[in-house]
């Protein structure tokens, strides 16, 4: 079990790195202290990992995930908070730590093992297993300097894989080695998982995280963003990356199209700010409505959803509908670049428990509608018409525009519109109107 209790960690970044006696003395005599900045690598992380869980920390470089792993292993000490662990910890931050080229593979196994915290007796038991796993054979009795780099890597891996800790901390090390060997290691890790060992990994390999881990935790700039099932957390991570891409993309666009776009940017950023302000005020008012979802927006902004309008059958703009009524969702889109074949779509969502569930969604591609190509500056309206076969409730709309391959979102707006459905007829009950036909046949 691992308990991370409100842990923060800061680093000192020295402004001048010089460490010779002369300067130190001069500075000391002048009463000048070496200047440094403080950088909080982790801020108030509070996580409990139970025995037997497989947890992945994900996030960009510099998000603090490796620092966290080093705190768990005891290499770093937290500045605030506390870390409590139960059981033997084995850390695989780097492979082949302390390998000495002049020592034989055998000697290095024992040295490396003892560094990982295993005693001679345990290592003797594991020795044969390690040698077999590494597929190094008789080379094990030759100095490591005679090994190929692949062999040394395999040996390092094998030690890491064959030792038997209660808690295994792994930092990205699985990304190396050839594919067959990698598979072997993954299989081994599955074995660890089956044996109810606690595994904490730090990885960029999201596919592996999705497949292997039961739980993922996203860090951003030292803070915990979301902790949950890998699917949910990875989606959130993608969303964050996309936002970041948008920022850098905007910079690029600004660079390339200095005349038009900057004005647009300012405007849209302003608009966004305005919207956020409104949203914040709304939040204040609706404190009693804790489930009110936040308006969120990200994308590359090469095309922009300027407006989303909900209309009833009479073409009146409204946010209150009766079920069985027809409703149109109109997305007004402006293009900031020449684009080809974008996909426009929407979702209708509703709270179920504490989760926002997609009730219904569709897009132009699923509906087999080819949007064609657009020029910069062009504006279009995409209108979706449907009948609201929904029960009474509050619903949220998500509108999005993506590129033809759906590899990136130009604009993605969550909870852009809220609407209420009232059920005035009593023709049906439940979650959805299946529009049943009733047939009666008299038999006999």
């Amino acid at each position: 079990m691992i308990e991370i209790i409100h842990v923060s960690k800061k680093f000192k970044i020295w402004e001048d790195r010089s460490r010779d006696l002369k300067e130190t003395t001069i500075n000391f005599l002048r009463g000048k202290k070496r200047s440094f900045r403080e950088l909080w690598a982790l801020r108030d992380i509070d996580v409990e990992i139970k025995k037997g869980e497989t947890v992945a920390f994900i996030g960009e470089n510099g998000s603090g995930k490796s620092t966290l792993l080093k705190l768990l292993s005891g290499i770093y000490t937290p500045d605030e908070g506390e870390i409590a662990t139960q059981g033997k910890i084995s850390t695989l931050l780097e492979l082949g730590v302390g390998f000495h080229p002049d020592l034989t593979g055998e000697e290095n196994i024992f040295l490396n093992g003892s560094m990982l915290g295993f005693n001679q007796k345990e290592m003797k038991k594991k020795f044969e297993e390690i040698v077999n796993f590494s597929e190094i054979g008789d080379f094990i009795y030759s100095p490591i300097r005679t090994y190929s780099s692949g062999m040394a890597m395999r040996l390092a891996f094998s030690i890491a894989m064959c030792v038997d800790p209660d808690i295994l901390l792994i930092d990205e090390v699985l990304a190396v080695g050839d594919e067959a060997f990698q598979k072997k290691c993954l299989k081994r890790l599955e074995g660890f998982k089956m044996a109810k060992k606690t595994i904490v990994i730090v990885s960029h390999a999201l596919e592996m995280v999705r497949e292997f881990c039961e739980r993922a935790i996203l860090l951003f700039e030292g803070r915990l963003i979301i902790d949950g099932s890998p699917e949910v957390v990875i989606d959130k991570y993608h969303a964050m990356l996309s936002t970041k891409e948008r920022t850098s993309d905007l910079e690029r666009i600004v660079e390339a199209e200095k005349v038009y776009v900057p004005i647009m940017n300012e405007k849209s950023v302003l608009e966004e700010k305005e919207e956020k302000k409104v949203e914040k005020e709304k939040e204040k008012i609706e404190e009693f409505f804790p489930q009110e979802p936040k308006y969120e927006r990200y994308g590359t902004f090469e095309a922009e959803i300027v407006e989303v309008v909900l209309r009833n059958e009479k073409e009146e703009e409204t946010n209150t509908f009766t079920s069985a009524e027809g409703m149109s969702i109109c997305l007004k889109i402006r293009f900031h670049r020449d684009l080809e074949g974008p996909i426009v779509g929407f979702y209708i969502r509703e709270y179920k428990g504490d989760r926002l569930l997609n009730i219904y969604g569709t897009n132009t591609r699923w509906k087999n509608i080819e949007l064609g190509s657009f020029e910069r500056g062009e504006e279009i309206e995409v209108k979706f018409l449907q009948r609201l076969s929904l029960p009474e409730g509050i619903y949220y709309t998500l509108a999005a525009i993506a590129d033809a391959e759906e590899t990136k979102f130009y604009d993605w707006q969550e909870n852009v519109k809220t609407f209420i459905v009232k059920k005035e007829d009593s023709l049906w009950t439940g979650m959805i109107d299946l529009n049943s036909q009733v047939l009666i046949n008299r038999c006999c």
Binding site: S114, N119, Q120
Partner: protein, 256 residues
């Protein structure tokens, strides 16, 4: 609690010492023989210089010199090799946790091993020159243990300081030279004028070296005052070493 932790890492210490021991002379033709040849050649050179040329008035100079030079070189070798033990092990300190004092400790233990090997060869040479071991030899393990602790304290101090002040490396060379000549290794204490004798005896190495000579050459036990002085020096050195070490230990992985 942290001090006891080190005992859980006995195997790591053993492996590090054996790594250091095995790799020190690896790929050299004479290997471990250098541990013997080196002091032997030094003894010959100093004998030529001080006994034959400078004609220092000491009975049996080679043995007189050897009994002090071996413990001295144990100290100087430990200090100069363990100085970088923390700062050069950044890759280890950043990648895996273990009590950090193991790094200087394992280097000292490896030096101790070399010291003991040469020391064993010193006995037959002493006997050739007519010095036979007396009962007092049994106190040697005690002296060696205390000297090792004394050295460990200094090494902790120096290696901790070295993380922040790389200059200490160059200062150490000078200090070791001065220290060597302030210690009665090549000359007897009797040459020191009486008025300086008090300050001269404040040098812990003077005490250690004299203790070794008492045991090996005179077959006598060092007087109780010497033992007290040795104990004080050792505890002072450990305090001196642990003070900066404990200060930097927590941030070691970040600072290296």
């Amino acid at each position: 609690m942290k001090f006891i932790e080190i005992f859980n890492y006995g195997d790591l210490i053993k492996n590090l010492v054996s790594r250091d021991f095995k790799t020190r002379y690896k790929r050299s033709y004479l290997g471990i023989l250098w541990s013997l040849l080196n002091p032997l050649l030094t003894i010959i050179v100093y004998t030529l210089a001080f006994d034959y040329i400078l004609k220092i008035r000491v009975r049996n100079f080679p043995m007189f010199f050897m009994c002090a030079y071996l413990p001295w070189s144990y100290l100087s070798a430990s200090l100069s090799t363990s100085l970088t033990s923390l700062s050069n092990s950044g890759y280890l300190i950043k990648a895996v946790y273990f009590p950090r004092e193991i790094l200087p400790l394992s280097i000292i233990l490896s030096s101790l091993l070399h010291f003991l090997i040469t020391f064993i060869f010193a006995f037959p040479i002493l006997m050739i020159f007519g010095y036979f071991p007396q009962w007092s030899v049994l106190s040697l393990p005690g002296i060696i243990l205390l000297q090792s602790l004394f050295i460990f304290g200094l090494c902790l101090f120096l290696s901790s300081i070295h993380v922040f002040f790389r200059d200490i490396q160059y200062i150490l060379d000078v200090i070791l030279t001065i220290w060597f000549w302030l210690t009665p290794v090549v000359y007897p204490i009797s040459l020191i004028p009486d008025q300086f004798l008090f300050f001269y005896n404040l040098n812990p190495m003077t005490i250690f070296v004299t203790a070794y000579r008492e045991v090996l050459l005179n077959g006598a036990l060092p007087v109780p005052q010497y033992w007290i002085a040795i104990l004080i020096a050792t505890s002072a050195s450990l305090l001196l070493g642990y003070f900066p070490f404990l200060k930097i230990r927590k941030r070691l992985a970040e600072e290296i």
